[in-house]
């Protein structure tokens, strides 16, 4: 079950037309001007 704060962040970023990448170290590994990362450690 995805935590509510992460679901909300996905919705906010997706509405801006940004791709969202979710991974424990997403911010370290994925870059781009229309890329939003969520470091989700599980």
């Amino acid at each position: 079950m995805m935590p509510e704060e992460i679901r909300k962040k996905i919705a906010d970023e997706a509405k801006k037309g940004r791709i969202i990448i979710i991974h424990p170290n997403a911010s370290e590994k994925f870059k781009g001007s229309r890329v939003s990362t969520i470091d989700y450690p599980r």
């Binding site: 995805m2 679901r7 996905i10 919705a11 997706a14 509405k15 037309g17 940004r18 791709i19 969202i20 990448i21 979710i22 991974h23 997403a26 370290e28 590994k29 994925f30 870059k31 781009g32 001007s33 229309r34 890329v35």
Partner: protein
């Protein structure tokens, strides 16, 4: 998962130079967009990584208001161009069965912070799409000790190693089996 084509010649290099097998599995939420979205993937900024394969998961519809993942989407309106400079030319992988069911999707290329793995994502379905991808990799320190060449960039050493294999077999072809027997 089988990488049979790799085991014969790549595995000795990995074993000798203490390559570390690992993978990154990511979830992506892809918005509908009239223009591509570019992503640079750096497997591990502290290492050089030999990417040996990709596994594409099946894309599905995604409801951003609830976070619910919906029905599968097989369509040429969603997919990924990808490239890595010097190793893999830009090409289009639509989310269709012939791509998504080729797993693992074989690769043999080096990526690092100096040469990221590039992705260009397309989604013209008009829907938000959820998709997962696994990148299979072997990572090496940026410098590794070699008894012949000293401290080496693992990518450079790998090219020497693979060239050596090719040259060995060409030499065998050149002298023939009888020539090899005479060398004993």
């Amino acid at each position: 998962m089988v990488f049979g084509w790799m085991q014969s010649f790549v595995a000795p290099f990995v074993t000798a130079y203490k390559g570390m097998f690992w993978h990154d599995t990511i979830e992506m939420i892809i918005p509908p967009s009239d223009v591509p979205i570019d992503i640079s993937y750096i497997p591990d900024p502290k290492y050089k990584s030999l990417i040996i394969g990709l596994t594409f998961g099946t894309p599905r519809e995604f409801d951003i208001s609830t976070g619910a993942i919906g029905p599968e989407v097989y369509s040429t309106d969603v997919g990924i161009f990808h490239s890595t400079e010097g190793y893999m030319d830009w090409h289009w992988d639509p989310c269709v069965e012939s791509i998504l069911k080729t797993n693992p999707y074989p690769q043999l290329l080096w990526a690092s912070k100096d040469r990221p793995y590039e992705l260009r994502v397309i989604n013209k379905t008009g829907k938000f799409i959820w998709m997962e991808i696994t990148f299979w990799a072997i990572k090496f320190p940026r410098k590794i000790p070699c008894p012949i060449y000293g401290e080496c960039d693992p990518e450079d050493l790998f090219h020497k190693y693979m060239s050596g294999i090719t040259e060995f077999f060409l030499a065998v072809d050149n002298v023939g089996v009888e020539g090899l027997i005479k060398m004993r």
